[in-house]
C-alpha cells in the first residue's frame, strides 16, 4: 500500500495538480482565476507526459558527444518531450485567446466576475 503511493509519486502529484486546476475552473468566480485554473490543468497533463519519458540514470534528449545514440537507455524518451513542446505552444495560444476575450468582456461589461456577468446578460 505504501509502495503504491511512494512508487507512483509522480502520478499522484500530476493528479493533485489536475484537481487543483479543475477546482479553479469550476469553483472560482473570477474569470481570470478560471483561466489560471485552466493553465494549471493543462500543465498537469504536460507534466504527466514528461514524467512518462523519464528513465533511471538517463540524460536529457540532446545528443551528447560521449554517449552513442544507439545507447537508448542513456537518453530520455524524446517523443513525449516533442509532443509537449507542441502542447505548451497550444496552451500559450489558448491563454492568449482567453485573455483577449477577457479584455473584450471587461470593455463591454466592466466586470470580470461570473455572477455579475450572468446577471447583466439576462
Amino acid at each position: 500500500m505504501v509502495d503504491f503511493i511512494t512508487g507512483h509519486y509522480a502520478y499522484w502529484f500530476t493528479l493533485s495538480l489536475l484537481c487543483v486546476g479543475l477546482y479553479g475552473i469550476i469553483f472560482k468566480q473570477n474569470l481570470v482565476k478560471k483561466v489560471i485554473g485552466l493553465a494549471i490543468f493543462q500543465v498537469s497533463v504536460v507534466l504527466f507526459f514528461v514524467s512518462i519519458a523519464s528513465k533511471w540514470d538517463a540524460t536529457v534528449t540532446v545528443i551528447d558527444k560521449n554517449i552513442p545514440v544507439e545507447q537508448v537507455e542513456s537518453y530520455l524518451n524524446p517523443l513525449p518531450h516533442t509532443l509537449m513542446l507542441t502542447a505548451i505552444v497550444v496552451g500559450v495560444a489558448t491563454l492568449g485567446v482567453a485573455f483577449t476575450l477577457l479584455i473584450a468582456i471587461y470593455n463591454r461589461y466592466g466586470t470580470l466576475d461570473e455572477q455579475e456577468l450572468l446577471e447583466k446578460i439576462q
Partner: protein, 495 residues
C-alpha cells in the same frame, strides 16, 4: 498523379488561403470574402475529386515527408473520412457564400480577421478528419477550437462571454483527450491509429487503457455537445454572428462526432469498447437524454437561434445514438444524419440570419403573417427544412430516422425506438409553431386596418438566397437519392 496527393492538398488549400486573405485584405478589404469563397470552393472541388478517386481506387494513406508510421504522421483518406470531408467542405462553401451581406452588417471592418480565422478553422476541421495520428488530431482539434472561439466572439454584446465559457470547457475537454492519448501511448508506444488498433486487442484488460478510452470519449464528447457536456452550445450559437453560426453549427459538432466514430469503432472496435463495461450503451443512454432534453428546451425558446441551438443538441443525440448501436443500419443512419443535419441546420441558420438581416430580430413571438408575403422564398425554404427535421418523407430527414429505427430494432432496443418517435413529435411542435405564425393570421389579434398595400415582396438578395435555396433543394434531392448514399455507407461499415 495528383490524386495521391489530394489529402494533403485539401488541407493545404486552407493554409494557403489563410495566408492569402490577410495579405490581400490589407491591400483591399473587399477581397477577403471572395478569397474565402474561392478557398473553400477549391477545397470542395478537391474533396469531390478525392471522393471520386476513392470510389475508383480505394483508400489513400498519405505519408508526410515520406516518413513511415509509426514515426511519421500520415493522413488517411478512407470511406468515412472522405464522406465527412465532402459534407463539411461543401457546407462551408455555401456558408461562406452566404456570409457576405450579413457579415457586412454584423461585423463591419473586421472582415479580414473573420475570413482568415474561418480558413484556419476549416483547416483544423479538415485536419481532424484526415489525420491518422492521435496527437496530430489534438493539434488540429486545438487549431479549429481556437479559431472557433475567436469566430464566436465576433458577434453582439454577450458573444465574448459565451466564447469564453466555450473556451474553458472546450480546452478542458481537449486536455482530457490529450491525457487519454498519453495513457494509450504509455501502453502501446505508438500514436498512429491504424498501428494502435492492431495492438489494443492484446491490452483489453489493462485498466489504464479503459481509462484512456473514457477520457477520450468524454473529452471529445465536450466538443460534440453530448449531454451533459453540451452546456456551452446554446449561448455560443445564439450570441455568435449569423455567418459564424451558419459556419460552425453544421460542421463543428459533426467533426467531433466523427472522431467518436473513429475512436469507438475503428481504433478500439466495438468488442473492445464494450469489453469491460457497456460503454457504447451508456453513451447511447446519454445521447437519448440529450435528444429529449434538447427537444424540450427548444420548445421553451422564443428566440429562433436559441431554439435551433437546442435543436442541434437534440440532433447530435441522434448521431451519437446511431453510433452507440454499432450495427450497420445504426451506422448508416447516423452518418446519413450527419449529412442531413449539416444541410438542414445550415439552411435553418441561414433563414434565421435572413430574418435578422431584414427585420433586425429573430424573435418567434414577433413573427407574423406578413412574412409570408415579404419573404416567400425564405419561408418556403423554412417549410422544407422544418418538414425534413420532423422526419416526413420523402425529404432527407425521414430516411436517417428510418435507418436509426431499423438499427434500434436490430438491437431490440425499444427504449431508443420510443425516444426517436417521441422526439420527432416534439420537433413537430416547435417547428410547426413557427409555420402557424407565419402562414396564418393570428386569430386572437384585433383586426388591423388593412395594411396590405405596405407589405410587399422584400426577400433577400441572391448571395443570401441561393445558398439557402440550394440547401432546401438539396434536402429533396438527398431524400430521393438516399438509396445510393446509404448503400455506400453500409459498405464502409467497419466490421
Amino acid at each position: 498523379m495528383i490524386e495521391t496527393h489530394l489529402p494533403a492538398i485539401i488541407a493545404l488549400t486552407f493554409v494557403l488561403f489563410a495566408l492569402l486573405i490577410p495579405l490581400f485584405g490589407l491591400w483591399k478589404e473587399q477581397l477577403c470574402q471572395p478569397l474565402a469563397v474561392l478557398g473553400s470552393g477549391l477545397a470542395t472541388a478537391f474533396s469531390l475529386l478525392a471522393f471520386i478517386n476513392y470510389l475508383q481506387s480505394g483508400s489513400i494513406r498519405y505519408l508526410f515527408g515520406g516518413w513511415e508510421p509509426p514515426i511519421g504522421i500520415e493522413f488517411v483518406y478512407d470511406g468515412l473520412s472522405g464522406f465527412i470531408l465532402l459534407v463539411i467542405n461543401s457546407v462551408a462553401f455555401l456558408a461562406l457564400i452566404y456570409a457576405k451581406k450579413p457579415g457586412q452588417m454584423e461585423f463591419q471592418g473586421k472582415e479580414l480577421a473573420y475570413y482568415a480565422l474561418a480558413m484556419l478553422m476549416m483547416l483544423g476541421f479538415n485536419g481532424m478528419v484526415l489525420t491518422g495520428d492521435l496527437f496530430n488530431l489534438y493539434v488540429f482539434l486545438e487549431i479549429s477550437s481556437l479559431s472557433s472561439y475567436a469566430l464566436i466572439s465576433i458577434g453582439n454584446k454577450p458573444a465574448p462571454f459565451a466564447a469564453f465559457r466555450y473556451l474553458i470547457i472546450g480546452t478542458a475537454g481537449g486536455t482530457l483527450y490529450l491525457l487519454g492519448v498519453g495513457f494509450l501511448y504509455t501502453n502501446t508506444g505508438t500514436l498512429n491509429i491504424i498501428d494502435m488498433s492492431a495492438m489494443l486487442p492484446m491490452l483489453v484488460d489493462n485498466s489504464s487503457v479503459v481509462t484512456a478510452l473514457i477520457l477520450m470519449v468524454v473529452g471529445i464528447g465536450v466538443k460534440a455537445a453530448v449531454f451533459p457536456m453540451h452546456g456551452w452550445l446554446p449561448d455560443s450559437y445564439t450570441y455568435a454572428s449569423t455567418p459564424s453560426s451558419t459556419l460552425i453549427a453544421p460542421i463543428g459538432t459533426k467533426v467531433a462526432a466523427y472522431i467518436l466514430f473513429r475512436i469507438m469503432l475503428y481504433l478500439f472496435g466495438i468488442e473492445l469498447t464494450d469489453a469491460v463495461f457497456p460503454l457504447s450503451y451508456i453513451v447511447g443512454v446519454f445521447a437519448c437524454i440529450g435528444i429529449i432534453y434538447g427537444s424540450v428546451m427548444a420548445i421553451a425558446q422564443t428566440e429562433m437561434k436559441r431554439m435551433l441551438a437546442y435543436s442541434s443538441v437534440s440532433q447530435i443525440g441522434y448521431i451519437i445514438m446511431g453510433l452507440s448501436l454499432a450495427n450497420p443500419f445504426g451506422f448508416a443512419g447516423a452518418l446519413l444524419h450527419v449529412l442531413n443535419h449539416a444541410v438542414m441546420k445550415a439552411c435553418l441558420f441561414m433563414i434565421a440570419g435572413n430574418l435578422r438581416y431584414k427585420e433586425g430580430h429573430s424573435n418567434i413571438s414577433l413573427f407574423n403573417e406578413s412574412y409570408r408575403i415579404k419573404y416567400p422564398w425564405t419561408m418556403a425554404s423554412f417549410s422544407v427544412a422544418a418538414i425534413s427535421m420532423v422526419g416526413l418523407p420523402p425529404l432527407a430527414g425521414f430516411f436517417s430516422k428510418w435507418y436509426l429505427v431499423l438499427g434500434t430494432i436490430d438491437n431490440s432496443n425499444w427504449i431508443f425506438l420510443a425516444v426517436i418517435i417521441v422526439s420527432s413529435l416534439l420537433n413537430a411542435v416547435y417547428f410547426f409553431r413557427i409555420l402557424e405564425k407565419v402562414y396564418m393570421k393570428n386569430p386572437d389579434a384585433e383586426q388591423q386596418p388593412d395594411k396590405a398595400a405596405e407589405i410587399k415582396y422584400d426577400d433577400v438578395s441572391p448571395s443570401m438566397m441561393s445558398p439557402m435555396a440550394i440547401m432546401a433543394v438539396g434536402l429533396i434531392v438527398i431524400g430521393f437519392a438516399n438509396a445510393a448514399i446509404v448503400s455506400f455507407l453500409l459498405g464502409i461499415f467497419p466490421m
